[in-house]
């Protein structure tokens, strides 16, 4: 058990940029973030402000140019299972079935376990995301929502200490998005894992996190102030929309972001790095007659 005052994940004065000389883009500068164990944080921001870069730093997929990324007070030197990450494009291996994709992670993380135990472990998480009926399917046969759930199951099966999610629901339609949000919330409430969510949807941020931190627009993006979420979210989603506290918080965050953006507008616009997303189109475009249900 960690000491109360020790942070699980910390970023101190982190700077990172890409390119050399005249082409250099400083994406993030002076990032300071402290994540307590058990917390759930959402980072909101505009497209291209560096959100993916930020989460990659935390996952250990990128190294900062200056500053420190600390996990349990130890500098992060690379990726690891304790910092599980759910990618924006699911990153499922398309030649493996759902079960095999999850097993890939389980086999790596728990090599000492007997096969049966590993299988049971994987299946537990697949059940958790309600995909038991799809265990032997390949990603090509799944809808976007299902794929994201597999990705989530895979990451969760690793039992990470921190769950990093990079705009996990960004490529989905509104209804799927909404239902998956509920699922994630349910899972999180059950496991109490420290979570860090990146999203461009303020509503989603407020719904899913304890703290909402805006990422100011880039280049040289910095983190804005934390907005604490004290709303009772156990009420259902539709009634939340009319909850005044919810509305007030949402407006605060949005106004903050809009202000920041208009500031930037007067500065030189730098280049935006767009995420590398491939949309999931329904199967009927390529000739199959039934579209898959989410």
């Amino acid at each position: 058990m960690l000491n109360h005052t020790t942070m699980l994940l910390e970023l101190k004065e982190v700077n990172i940029g890409f390119g050399e000389g005249a082409k250099r883009i400083d994406v993030l500068s002076n990032i300071n973030l402290a994540v307590k164990e058990g917390e759930s944080i959402a980072i909101v921001g505009f497209t291209g402000s560096g959100k993916t870069t930020l989460i990659k730093l935390m996952a250990g997929l990128l190294m900062p140019d200056a500053g420190q990324v600390l996990f349990k007070d130890q500098p992060v030197t690379g990726p690891g299972r304790e910092r599980g990450i759910v990618f924006q494009n699911y990153s499922l291996l398309p030649w493996l079935t759902v079960l095999r994709n999850v097993m890939l992670a389980v086999d790596e993380v728990y090599p000492a376990w007997p096969k049966k135990e590993r299988l049971a472990h994987a299946q537990r998480y697949i059940e958790m995301v309600n995909l038991r009926h799809a265990v032997s399917k390949r990603p090509a046969e799944l809808s976007g929502g299902m794929r994201q759930r597999v990705s989530l199951a895979r990451t969760l099966a690793m039992n990470p200490e921190v769950l990093l999610m990079d705009e996990p629901l960004g490529a989905l339609d509104a209804i799927t998005r909404s239902s998956l949000q509920q699922e994630i919330i349910k899972i999180r409430n059950a496991s109490k894992t420290t979570t860090l969510l990146i999203t461009n949807d303020v509503d989603e941020a407020i719904l899913m996190a304890d703290r909402v931190i805006p990422l100011n627009p880039g280049p040289n993006a910095t983190l804005g102030p934390s907005f604490r979420v004290d709303i009772d979210r156990r009420a259902d989603r539709t009634s939340l929309n009319s909850n005044p506290a919810f509305i007030r918080l949402r407006n605060e965050v949005i106004e903050y972001l809009l202000d920041k953006r208009s500031e930037v507008g007067t500065r030189n616009t730098g280049k935006f790095m767009l995420p590398n997303l491939s949309p999931v189109l329904p199967q009927s475009v390529f000739g199959s007659t039934r579209s898959k249900a989410a």
Partner: protein
């Protein structure tokens, strides 16, 4: 549940391994001869063990590979305890290389090949021969254009050109080409082929220079009035038609093919250049001969019998031979084309068929005996044109001939055949290996194998030796 990826890898590897094993087990050949190691030697009638009863012999698709085909089809090989596969080769170079490397046990060879190889012109290797396969059999053909230009300069009798046609009739044509700035090219089949030397002899007899070989020039076109180059026999008619060459010297059926197709006219046969000249031999590498002495004798016996069969009863068997040769696995040409030369006629200009019973001689005149003087003649011609770059004494010529030609093997084979009743005493020559001096050449110069250096110095065109 097995991972599908692993499954695929397993499947792929398994199929690859199975495939390799299956094909490897079947080997490269579907009807492969067994190697010496696995086949125990069979015994000959005389009790000697044949070291290697299963043989692969190579040949080029010419009518004078007949002794090989006849020896196989008439069972002469089998009677000697030999099981022979005959394999056509792409060209003379490949054939020689494969005999040297051992892929072929022996082959139908140009008389010059064992000699050239032994002295090191071209690939150097020790190649020997115990048997001459035939005499004569070549012709020189020119294109229709050249023939038309030659005709006015050829004396006629009863409306037909007088034979033999000397290359003097070619002189004005060369003049014409020179004035038009066109080179005159002729083809022959191999740098050490009989065709090369016969063509050169014919040209030189009329004072035309066929080109010299030097240390630096291995194409033999130095100071040439006529440029000679190598073309594989089957491609000669096509090359003539295309105009790339203006004439060629080659064996049959390629001269008669030209007449048949109307693309050229044979002007002279090598019988008329040098009566009864040695043409093809049966060659093996010396290493092979040393390892398989009994097998070599057996092969020689079978081939002598085949040659005798071909010339037997005033060529009564020739028609059957034509039928055999026309098969696609042997010479393969149409029977009508092969028939001419094999049955004693030769068609020059279309319609001008003349009797030439000795166009192919396989056995008469002791054709199969490997005379040293034949070998020495080739050596002199090699020296005459510069393929042999330095002067040599007569002794050198004798020594070299003894290295390449193996009359001892022939005599042993003939003796046994005599015992078995296949040969009569008269059919075995009594000789020291040197034929008597002869002037049966188109230019009448007398050749005596015992004085090769002197012979060289008789020519007006050609290198001379001053020893």
């Amino acid at each position: 549940m097995k991972s599908t990826t692993t499954h695929y890898w397993l499947m792929a590897t398994a199929s690859a391994i199975v495939t390799i094993l299956v094909f490897a087990a079947c080997g490269g050949r579907t009807s492969s001869p067994v190697t010496e190691a696995s086949a125990a030697g069979t015994q000959t009638a005389s009790g000697d063990v044949i070291e290697k009863p299963e043989l692969v012999l190579g040949f080029i698709k010419l009518t004078d590979m007949a002794p090989l085909a006849i020896a196989k089809e008439k069972g002469f090989f089998e009677e000697e305890g030999l099981y022979v596969r005959l394999e056509a080769q792409a060209n003379w170079k490949v054939l020689l290389d494969r005999v040297i490397s051992g892929e072929l046990d022996g082959a139908h060879m140009l008389a010059g090949q064992p000699i050239g190889a032994t002295i090191g012109f071209g690939t150097k290797a020790e190649v020997v021969t115990p048997l001459s396969m035939d005499l004569n059999g070549n012709g020189i053909t020119v294109s229709n254009e050249v023939w038309q230009a030659m005709k006015p300069h050829i004396p006629t009798e009863n409306g037909k050109p007088v034979h033999p046609i000397s290359a003097a009739a070619l002189q004005p044509v060369l003049e014409k080409f020179r004035n038009e700035g066109r080179p005159f090219r002729m083809g022959m089949v191999f740098p050490v082929s009989t065709h090369n030397y016969e063509l050169r002899y014919w040209l030189a007899a009329a004072g035309i220079s066929p080109g010299y070989y030097t240390e630096s020039d291995i194409t033999g076109t130095t100071d040439a009035d006529v440029l000679l180059s190598v073309t594989p026999p089957p491609q000669m008619p096509a090359t003539l038609e295309a105009g790339t060459i203006n004439g060629y010297c080659v064996g049959e059926p390629w001269n008669q093919q030209a007449v048949f197709k109307g693309i050229g006219v044979p002007v002279i046969t090598d019988y008329e250049i040098w009566k009864n000249n040695p043409e093809k031999v049966f060659g093996v590498s010396k290493a092979w001969a040393d390892r398989h002495p009994n097998t070599l004798i057996a092969i020689t016996k079978a081939l002598i019998r085949a040659c005798k069969w071909l010339d037997e009863n005033e060529m009564a068997n020739r028609a059957e031979a034509v039928a055999i040769l026309a098969r696609p696995e042997y010479a393969g040409a149409d029977p009508e084309v092969i028939a001419n030369s094999m049955t004693g006629t030769f068609e020059y200009e279309k319609g001008d068929k003349r009797s030439l019973p000795d166009f192919n001689v396989f056995f008469r005149f002791h054709a199969t005996y490997p005379y040293y003087s034949d070998c020495i003649w080739y050596l002199t011609q090699m020296r005459r044109w510069g393929q042999i770059t330095t002067s040599h004494s007569n002794e050198w010529y004798f020594e070299t001939a003894r290295k390449v030609y193996l009359p001892e093997v022939w005599l042993e084979a003939a003796r046994r055949l005599e015992q078995e009743g296949h040969l009569t005493k008269e059919e075995i020559p009594e000789t020291d290996g040197f034929k008597p001096a002869t002037g049966d050449f188109i230019d009448g110069i007398i050749y005596d194998g015992r004085d090769p250096v002197g012979y060289l110095n008789k020519f007006s065109v050609g290198l001379k030796d001053n020893l």
